[in-house]
């Protein structure tokens, strides 16, 4: 996407979207961090679909589960904060996509699956996780932080001084 051009209103819209997604990620993370007993175990044990075996196996490994819990809680919080700030936007969008791929894969709304966990809507293959994943793709490829976000400052600082011209006195 380097070199692509976007209208001002398009960039503002993408920035708004980035802040919203970041907000959601951050609160999902903080809500888990501040709950005394949150663990991914319940969600993993309910796993369905082609990858269910892996997720259930993970839930049964106390060591790995403890790491998975920490990574999820802190990962969501940090990704959320970075998205809101527009700092390391591409990297944090990619990390967010990674989380969503895992969440989606654990409970995919495929044809013929019925979940005992209540869901708040009606989904066929596409659910809100996938929609959020799509939003992060847009954020990632447009590098929205360089338009409105700390990335813009970081980028400007890095590229502020022109590289010294190579002088070749010998010639």
């Amino acid at each position: 996407m380097e070199g692509a051009t976007f209208s001002r209103s398009a960039m503002i819209a993408i920035t708004v979207m980035r802040v919203l997604v970041g907000w959601h990620f951050m609160y999902e993370g903080i809500a888990k961090l501040t709950s005394s007993s949150w663990s991914a175990a319940g969600y993993l044990r309910q796993a369905r679909g082609p990858a269910a075996g892996f997720f259930r196996w993970l839930a049964a490994q106390p060591n790995l589960l403890a790491y998975a819990d920490q990574i999820t809680m802190w990962g969501l919080t940090i990704v959320g904060a970075l998205l809101i700030l527009g700092l390391f936007t591409r990297l944090s969008a990619l990390a967010g996509i990674g989380f969503l791929v895992l969440f989606y894969a654990a409970n995919p709304p495929f044809v013929g699956y019925f979940y005992s966990l209540p869901s708040e809507g009606s989904y066929l293959i596409v659910n809100k996780q996938l929609v959020e994943l799509g939003a992060l793709l847009v954020i990632m490829v447009t590098g929205s932080g360089k338009y409105a976000g700390l990335d813009r400052i970081v980028h400007a600082l890095i590229t502020r001084k022109p590289a010294p011209a190579v002088v070749s006195p010998a010639r």
Partner: protein
């Protein structure tokens, strides 16, 4: 049109700017989304304040006026200790002074951190004797340790002059249970055993109003109680939280697996019949007003790995009771491989049926009037039971095309027991204990009652091994 406007305001290629200065525009746009983080912080603060306010609203006021503040300690900060702590945090006038758990790496830290969040400042101990030595101010101790530790913990706490709330099963041995009764009598301190249904308002309502006053069931002849629990994986623990082997041995565990899954091991716990059945069999005895006269049982380890499970995962029991009204047969089953139908107790008399459970979600209290029984209008008017749900047997029959056999009984009217507990299940029983400590109530489950229950329940495992009917003598229940 928007399209034209957009064309006029095409942005320069992002990141293709090449070397340039950090200008005012960059700084402003760069920081433009920072306020969103501030807004998030503000919203989160509001959410936390709201959570705190609702917590304080549901939790009764701390030390409200005339309530005498009690200094308390918790021994055993595992899953059950956590359940009791959650309930106690809602009871006014309690001050946590100490928490004791041998799993210092995990349980102890967790519960201490939670208590700090609620503005308690408990001291943390690994060794309960050290705790009793140092914490002279304690009024009461709540014990939620593995069953085989109940007797030593309870006896030492009583002898140190503390009142004790001890989880059920009172002990994994009758000798242990007897030593607890003796210590309570010697010291004159209170000992409440954690059969929490004894303080549950719905059970109390059924016992006092429906059974004793209104006698709605007529003569109870049979009972059926069940606890069906789904397959569960063994409990684990991350290696970095593992207890050093030396400490495990010191406290009677072979390894971390045994420490986490002590309920399945002989000598440590009593298996599902004791963990689950003891609650419900206690209700049989309470409601019938007499102890059983005999027990026969069948059980076995049908499903789980015998290397890590010593007790029976499946148990079916029949008790005989000789009540003043006549003999009663009481069935009980617990199995741990399928959770459907959950847990309940069903009392069947010649005039009605009472289906009750501690659960507020399933079988929370239904009473059925036998068509031959006298009308219950009086008790509906008094608010003891709800008005009957109308039976539509006839229309159902027509719809389904089924033809009822003339010998089939007509379905009885269904009424609801109108008592709901909106607190954690253990809260009323703990409240009863602390009220008794303050001299304002009588214990609902003193050690003698806990002992009777232990005699009835521990005998089941014996009966399974004996493969025959075992009789109880009335003196078995007395100390």
């Amino acid at each position: 049109m928007a399209g034209e406007e957009d064309k006029n305001k095409v942005m320069p290629p992002i990141a293709a700017g090449g070397p340039r200065k950090l200008d005012r525009r960059d700084v402003l746009k760069g920081l433009s989304t920072v306020p969103a983080l501030g807004l998030f912080g503000y919203a989160w603060q509001q959410q936390r304040q709201y959570d705190q306010a609702t917590l304080q609203a549901t939790a009764a006021p701390a030390a409200a006026g005339d309530v005498q503040e009690l200094n308390i300690a918790l021994i055993g900060a595992g899953a059950q200790g956590q359940v009791l702590t959650d309930a106690m945090l809602r009871i006014p006038g309690l001050r946590f002074r100490a928490v004791c758990d041998v799993w210092t790496e995990y349980n102890l830290r967790r519960v201490v951190n939670i208590l700090r969040r609620f503005k308690h400042e408990p001291n943390a101990y690994e060794d309960y004797r050290e705790m009793l030595d140092k914490e002279k101010e304690l009024d009461a101790v709540v014990i939620a340790t593995p069953d085989f530790w109940h007797a030593p913990h309870t006896v030492e706490c009583l002898k140190a002059g503390k009142h004790v709330y001890c989880e059920k099963e009172m002990s994994n041995t009758l000798e242990g249970a007897r030593s607890m009764v003796a210590a309570a009598r010697e010291t004159g301190k209170l000992l409440q055993i954690g059969h929490q249904r004894r303080s549950n308002p719905r059970y109390l309502h059924c016992y006092e109003k429906l059974l004793n006053e209104a006698k709605l069931l007529g003569r109870i002849v049979t009972i059926n109680g069940q606890w069906n629990r789904a397959v569960a994986a063994d409990l684990g623990a991350p290696d970095r939280y593992a207890i050093p082997e030396e400490r495990l041995k010191q406290y009677g565990f072979k390894n971390m697996h045994q420490f986490r899954n002590w309920r399945w091991y002989k000598g440590l716990g009593g298996g599902p019949i004791v963990d689950l059945g003891s609650h419900q069999i206690d209700i049989y005895t309470w409601f019938l007003g007499t102890n059983p006269s005999a027990v026969m049982a069948s059980g076995g380890l049908l499903y789980y790995d015998p290397a890590t499970h010593e007790w029976y995962d499946t148990v079916m029991v029949v008790y005989d009771y000789q009540t003043p009204q006549g003999p009663v047969k009481a069935y009980y089953q617990t199995q741990t491989t399928n959770g459907s139908q959950g847990y309940f107790e069903n009392f069947m008399g010649d005039q009605g049926t009472l289906l009750i459970s501690e659960s507020e979600l399933n079988y929370a209290g239904k009473i059925y009037r036998d068509p031959n029984a006298p009308a219950w209008d009086e008790w509906i008017q008094k608010g003891y039971i709800s008005a009957p749900k109308l039976q539509e047997l006839q229309s159902q029959e027509e719809k389904s095309g089924a033809i009822a056999d003339v010998r089939e009984s007509v379905s009885p009217d269904e009424h609801t027991v109108p008592v709901v507990l909106r607190d954690p299940y253990h809260q009323p029983h703990l409240q009863n204990f602390f009220d008794a400590v303050r001299g304002k109530a009588k214990l609902n489950c003193p050690p003698e009652v806990g002992y009777e229950s232990a005699v009835s329940v521990l005998k089941v495992n014996e009966a399974i091994d004996a493969k025959s009917i075992l009789a109880f003598k009335p003196e078995d229940f007395h100390i």
